[in-house]
């Protein structure tokens, strides 16, 4: 398709100094600097500028060490010893094991509702301990080979022991807190003592502009240097324009339709297969993503570690789909497709896909729901809905969404044999062996799962001329929205 322009603006060698102004969509009153409460992209990026995690994800979602220098499990994979690197908080205190244990305890507090709480549930904090100032020993409730994924999980930042007040946050990140006006602006200063080397720019300012057009206008008007999340249309509009350069963040989001397996009509395997076959993935990518993305193969995590590349790509087969629809006795069946403005492209994808379903003899009604409560509404309600997911390891996708015990199992995929495979995989120390089990699990999903993954969206960020160091990394990974490596020419 007609993909958007991708130009990295990296001009020449890094240069020091200046104030980098970055524009994101924000959350108004709800914005917070508490890294454990991070929810929005702007909050994730800010947390990353102010704090560090023990580990983070590379471009293929493999885990890269950060504050943790290294980690070693015991043979049973139930005790993990993590060694911290030499790093200091902005107030000069060193980052110690106690800070790590405090941070994890805070997130895991059963009385509270931090997003990453369930991720940390595998850790038995009561039995975990600080071996010394720079060594933490985590005791796990069960063998878990993918423990590094926990260290890198979304929002698991290390804060100084005892911190509850984040009005003037102190972290160990590349930038030091300056001033904050919620919903408007956050000003940060360069941390000259950052363990990974000080940032190039002197100051970093986060500015909030919820409207995409406003972010682009601000960039074109020279009011900001970096605009997060622009549309493919905007990228096309300014292709060849020297006032704006676009960087693609390939593979940032999975785009799917989720079918519920525990109720009619999609408890019928034939109908699911019909759905897989009737989907015109290219058309969806071209119209909904404006060409900025790749088609999907009904599996999460294309290009990520452990992704089952070997499973053949499904192609559209309308005849067979029509035949399967008839076989399932679903011809003319009235199906509701839930969507909402909860995520960009949902409504568009629903209306495009509804047309495709109609071609296969299904009667679809697109229902546009409330965008604010969408995720809750579709978790248990309806039978077919639009779905998307940000980047995460494939293992996390399994554990959060596909186990019988998963709390956000939207497709209601509940298979004891699949659960057993998962338990086996995460107890395998050998990566190769694990990969095989994951591949088996993905084959099950591909054959009869509930996710119709039609594409992977690239995200686009725009930068002003002269901004360098913005790299292509999926959203939510280490190098995404990371500004200590960016410079102003």
């Amino acid at each position: 398709g007609p993909g958007p322009a991708t130009g990295t603006a990296a001009t020449g060698r890094p240069r020091r100094g200046g104030r980098l102004r970055v524009a994101f969509a924000g959350g108004g009153a709800q914005e917070t600097l508490d890294p454990h409460l991070s929810n929005l992209f702007v909050e994730a990026s800010r947390s990353k500028a102010l704090f560090d995690k023990l580990a983070d994800y590379g471009p293929d979602l493999s885990v890269q060490p950060r504050l943790a220098e290294r980690w070693e499990p015991d043979a049973a994979l139930t005790t993990w010893r993590v060694t911290l690197r030499q790093a200091a908080f902005h107030d000069g205190r060193p980052v110690r094991a106690a800070d790590v244990l405090y941070s994890y305890a805070r997130i895991g507090d059963p009385a509270r509702a931090f997003r990453a709480r369930t991720t940390l549930a595998v850790i038995d904090l009561a039995r975990s301990r600080a071996v010394d100032d720079r060594t933490v020993e985590f005791a796990l409730r069960q063998p878990f080979a993918e423990f590094p994924n926990v260290l890198a999980a979304f929002g698991v930042f290390i804060v100084p022991e005892g911190t509850e007040d984040f009005t003037r946050p102190v972290g160990s990140g590349p930038f030091v807190f300056g001033s904050f006006e919620p919903g408007r602006s956050l000003l940060l200063r360069r941390n000259p003592d950052y363990w990974e080397g000080a940032p190039h720019v002197d100051e970093l300012q986060y500015l909030i502009a919820n409207e995409e057009s406003a972010r682009v206008n601000a960039l074109l008007g020279g009011q900001v240097d970096y605009a997060h999340d622009i549309t493919a249309t905007t990228a096309r509009t300014y292709r060849g324009n020297d006032r704006l350069a676009v960087t693609r963040l390939t593979n940032s989001g999975m785009q799917a339709f989720a079918m519920k397996l525990d109720r009619p009509p999609f408890d019928d395997r034939d109908l699911r297969e019909a759905m897989f076959l009737l989907a015109d993935r290219e058309q969806l990518v071209d119209t909904v993503l404006g060409g900025a993305g790749q088609t999907g193969n009904d599996l999460f995590g294309r290009g990520y570690q452990y992704y089952a590349e070997e499973i053949p790509q499904r192609a559209r087969d309308l005849d067979r789909a029509q035949w399967l629809v008839r076989k399932a006795g679903a011809k003319g069946l009235r199906i509701r497709l839930d969507t909402s403005a909860a995520a960009g492209g949902f409504v568009e994808s629903a209306s495009v896909f509804a047309d495709q379903m109609r071609q296969a003899g299904l009667d679809v009604r697109v229902a546009v729901g409330d965008k604010d409560t969408y995720w809750k509404d579709v978790l248990d309600g309806g039978s077919l809905c639009c779905f998307r997911s940000g980047a995460m390891p494939i293992e996390s996708h399994f554990s959060q969404r596909l186990l019988s015990t998963s709390t956000t199992n939207i497709t209601k995929w509940r298979r004891p044999e699949f659960d057993a495979l998962y338990t086996r995989a995460v107890s395998l120390a050998d990566e190769k062996a694990r990969r095989d089990v994951y591949a088996e699990m993905q084959r099950m999903q591909h054959a009869e799962g509930g996710y119709l993954v039609w594409g992977f969206a690239d995200w686009l960020v725009a930068t002003a001329p002269g901004v360098g160091g913005v790299v292509d990394a999926p959203a939510n990974t280490l190098d995404w929205a990371r500004f200590d490596k960016v410079w102003l020419a």
């Binding site: 102004r21 524009a23 959350g27 108004g28 009153a29 709800q30 914005e31 917070t32 929810n39 009385a111 509270r112 509702a113 997003r115 709480r117 369930t118 006006e181 919620p182 919903g183 408007r184 602006s185 300012q205 500015l207 909030i208 502009a209 919820n210 409207e211 057009s213 406003a214 206008n217 601000a218 074109l220 008007g221 009011q223 900001v224 909860a342 409330d370 965008k371 604010d372 409560t373 995720w375 809750k376 509404d377 978790l379 709390t407 956000t408």
Partner: protein, 316 residues
């Protein structure tokens, strides 16, 4: 009825109105699907987690109890705290209020003289080319939604010509510090009210200019200028003042659009995001501010109208 008596009666009525508005807004917000906990849970809508958030926010108590609590707090001057951000609503309103108040105040300040001037000029030239031009442009402009006008103005004056900044991104809460930022938002905000109010002024002025007392003022040898400004105009603006009061409502919806397009983090933005977040205390606080403003402006307008039309005796 005497003016003070009238004002006091209206004031009491206004207070009752404000409380009733908060009650209605509370009920409507409660009627929205989901609550703050559901919204906070976002794309991780784990039911257990939602319950825990609900507990943390005190949303597990029955709605009437929460409203009563809020009302009691109000009596002590306490508007409560934002459910999602935890900050006191008053501080929140103060922050967001600044830019909005500036925008609205400057708009009103410019609106009145401009609308009156356009209306008067059109009325004096009634039926002539200038009047026809002003009237047609007025209707045309009146029909353009604010967001469309904003897009056009930004594309032309900010991006093409570069005369004004396209947004207020990066400008502090005091917009006056960079007046250039205000130009385009003000143009957008002014466009429609100027049209509607100048229409009323024009109609009122035409009536007044045809009236017996204006003809008589001419007979008494007063200058045309004086007759128009001191004798006809005060009668012409009375209906416009009432409309002006209704303009606050308009201005507010205009402000929401303008704030979104030009990135002014004011009350309009706050309202939209608070409704999205089901942040009831914030919505209540905003409804209170808006209702109080509307009531106050209407009160002032009615009192001014009372004063402008001494005969009517405030039959509003």
């Amino acid at each position: 009825m005497s003016l003070p008596g009238y004002a006091v009666r209206r004031l009491l009525l206004g207070l009752a109105q404000i409380v009733a508005v908060t009650m209605l807004v509370f009920a409507l917000t409660e009627a929205l699907p989901g609550d703050a906990a559901v919204v906070l849970a976002g794309d991780v809508p784990d039911p257990a987690r939602i319950d825990r958030i609900r507990q943390e926010l005190g949303l597990d108590r029955p709605a009437p109890v929460r409203y009563a609590d809020w009302l009691l707090g109000l009596l002590r001057g306490d508007l409560g705290s934002s459910l999602t951000a935890g900050r006191p609503v008053t501080g929140f309103l103060a922050d967001a209020g600044g830019p909005t108040v500036q925008l609205a105040a400057i708009t009103l300040l410019l609106l009145v003289p401009l609308a009156v001037a356009v209306g008067v000029v059109a009325a004096i030239r009634e039926g002539r080319l200038l009047d026809r031009a002003l009237t047609s442009v007025g209707i045309g402009l009146y029909s353009v939604p604010e967001f469309a006008l904003a897009v056009v103005l930004v594309a032309l004056f900010a991006l093409r010509l570069g005369w004004f900044p396209p947004t207020a991104v990066g400008v502090g809460p005091d917009l006056l510090a960079q007046p250039a930022v205000l130009v385009l938002p003000l143009l957008v905000l002014l466009a429609r009210p100027i049209c509607s109010i100048s229409r009323l002024v024009r109609a009122g002025m035409i009536d007044a200019l045809r009236s017996d007392y204006v003809r008589h003022a001419h007979r008494l040898g007063l200058s045309t200028r004086r007759v128009r400004l001191a004798h006809a105009l005060p009668n012409a603006v009375a209906p416009a003042v009432q409309q002006l009061a209704r303009t606050t409502d308009w201005l507010l919806s205009g402000v929401i659009t303008v704030e979104a397009v030009f990135v002014v983090p004011g009350l309009g933005t706050a309202l939209v995001s608070a409704v999205s977040a089901r942040d009831i205390p914030v919505i209540q606080g905003l409804a209170l501010v808006f209702a109080a403003t509307t009531v106050a402006v209407n009160l002032v307008a009615d009192v001014v109208a009372f004063r402008l039309a001494p005969r009517a005796g405030g039959a509003a």
